[in-house]
Amino acid sequence: MIAFAIRRLLQALGVMLVVALISFMMFRFVGDPVNQLVGVDTSPAEREALRQALGLNDPVLLQFARFVIKAAQFDFGISYQFKQPVASLIASRLPATLELSFVSALFALAVGVPMGVYTGLYRNTWLARAFLTISLIGVSLPTFLIGILLIFVVSVNLGWLPSFGRGDVVDLGGGWTTGLLTKSGLQSLILPSITLGLFQMTLIMRLVRGEMMEVLRTDYIKFARARGLSRRAINFGHALKNTLVPVITITGLQLGSIIAFAVITETVFQWPGMGLLFLQAVQNVDIPIMAAYLLLIAFLFVIINFIVDLLYVAVDPRIRLGGAAS
């Protein structure tokens, strides 16, 4: 177990170093960092002095090492467009994105699992077919289109829910704001969460459905039926429980995707999160923000993958034994 964890940790470090190298190369070689910081009327001598002060004349390897050390301390430099430290910009936007992502993941699980169980148990009812058709549409339609259609129907035509922003937020201290405690904040969360979570919901539904159909064919379910257990006990106690390991894994892995896909949802709903910041950075060629966002997302992905790997080993004894044997 520990050997497995250490091996995974080293792999994760390797991935992070590669991503850091890409970020660094973007930072250093795409455009001239000095040009971005000074005005047009700065003299060549002053530019050279700044170049020296920033350490841009040092060997590239030394610069990379410095970049990695600084990044590990969450120092990503100054944003070209906002003239503020990138780290504080991202920190102020992080709560909005994380809140949206977690609510979306919850929505995807809370709706996707029951729908999956239902379609797995009652395959040929019209409701199961309706669910499957909806899931096909959910997989095929681009996220932003779903968002626009929701805004059009729910906000513009029905006028039920707000269509942009976070509503009123409460500061929990330390700059962490939440919209979960106010009515307008909760209302503002509904449409973006559905938009962001719909794809994951359909994924979870199809996964649970497939697993349920597979598990229901196994001998131990037949045996449970022969023992005369109630349908409820068989379906939920035995069958569903055994489908949950892959569901947990996929949901965990999808959490990273949700945070990344938040870029699109945040744009549609003008949600003041990290994704919107990143998109503005891409449009305005703000390399420090792009590099920092890339590193942050990579970090999240690596952490999530690591935890999921460990959970997997903890949950499924077959992997543990197989790993120990090899």
Binding site: M26, L136, S140, I151, F261, I287
Partner: protein, 327 residues
């Protein structure tokens, strides 16, 4: 699409029976006899999506002939015509079937021309991804060793991130390198590059897997024995035998590429409004959703949705039809 169906029809027909030379039946006959055609005619949903896809592609191809207006011709558009609703609504103008947008352009015509751009970028990106992925997959599988390790490690790292994020990053970097002035000239190349580079991994992995199997077969050994160069063996002998799954991935990827292009354009980092794709049209129209001019964004949106759904269904069907395990 005619390119895609031809080798599949052949592969499905000749592979199980091993027809060699002799009297080969005509092309139409072989298609009609094939398993794939049979499974096609048994699935009404697939036939509908094939017809829809074909209609959309033809409409895009012949847009200049079909479209009632030329939305790119400044002489023919007038700002006085802006925001006419579709003709079944009040205050409409019979010249604009689906209404007109903020600049007085006919929505139906912009959709037809936009679909042309969306499909062109989609096809080009898929071909680009296919060329890169297949080449790297062949090299990795056939040469092995450090070439294999390097290529597959890059693929692994890239696979950790969602494609849209990679496309956005490449887009940002290309934007920085081109500079803001010259960016509009290279926007299509940048789009194809960013979408293509975010999709190549799937091809590379599939091709590598098949090459590992093929490389040990006798025909490859024979080719080596008579002293053919590795390049010749890879591209002339191994490649044709690993292309089947590649075409399936390409079909599924076409829907993804169209969606990715639309997403990038919607986010404002894709096709500029002067030559709008479907995504750009939706982005432009989105600003008018609240002031009541819903048709400017909803019609391109529905078009994109139907197109993506139809191509997706076709890809799904093709994957199942070509997968011998499911037969």
């Amino acid at each position: 699409m005619s390119y895609a169906t031809e080798p599949e029809g052949k592969a499905a027909q000749t592979a199980p029976e091993g027809v060699k030379g002799g009297t080969r039946p005509g092309f139409v006959r072989r298609i009609a006899d094939s398993d794939i055609w049979y499974s096609f005619t048994r699935s009404p949903l697939t036939m509908v999506s094939a017809v829809v896809t074909a209609i959309f592609m033809l409409a895009a191809l012949f847009a200049p002939l079909i479209a009632p207006h030329n939305p790119f011709d400044p002489a023919s558009i007038s700002i006085m015509d802006s925001f006419y609703p579709p003709i079944w609504e009040a205050d409409s103008d019979p010249r604009f079937l689906l209404g007109s947008d903020d600049q007085g352009r006919d929505v139906l015509s912009t959709i037809l021309y936009g679909m042309r751009i969306s499909l062109a970028v989609g096809f080009a990106s898929v071909i680009f991804a296919m060329v890169i992925g297949v080449t790297l997959g062949l090299l990795a599988g056939y040469l092995g060793g450090w070439v294999d390790s390097v290529i597959m490690r890059i693929a692994d790292v890239q696979l950790t991130f969602p494609a849209i994020l990679i496309a956005l990053l490449i887009n940002g970097v290309a934007r920085a390198m081109a500079g803001p002035q010259s960016y509009d000239n290279v926007v299509f190349a940048v789009l194809v590059l960013s979408i293509g580079l975010s999709f190549w991994v799937q091809y590379a992995r599939t091709v590598r897997g098949s090459v590992l199997v093929e490389a040990n077969k006798e025909y490859v050994l024979a080719a080596k024995l008579i002293g053919l160069k590795p390049i010749t063996i890879m591209f002339k002998h191994v490649l044709p035998n690993v292309l089947g799954p590649v075409l399936v991935i390409a079909t599924i990827n076409l829907a993804l590429a169209i969606i990715t292009e639309a997403t990038l354009s919607f986010l404002g980092v894709g096709v500029p409004p002067t030559e709008p794709s479907l995504g750009t049209l939706i982005r432009i129209g989105n600003d008018f959703l609240f002031s009541g001019e819903w048709w400017v964004t909803i019609f391109p949106g529905i078009t994109l949705a139907i197109l993506a759904l139809a191509v997706n269904l076709l890809g799904d069907w093709l994957r199942d039809a070509l997968n011998p395990k499911l037969r």
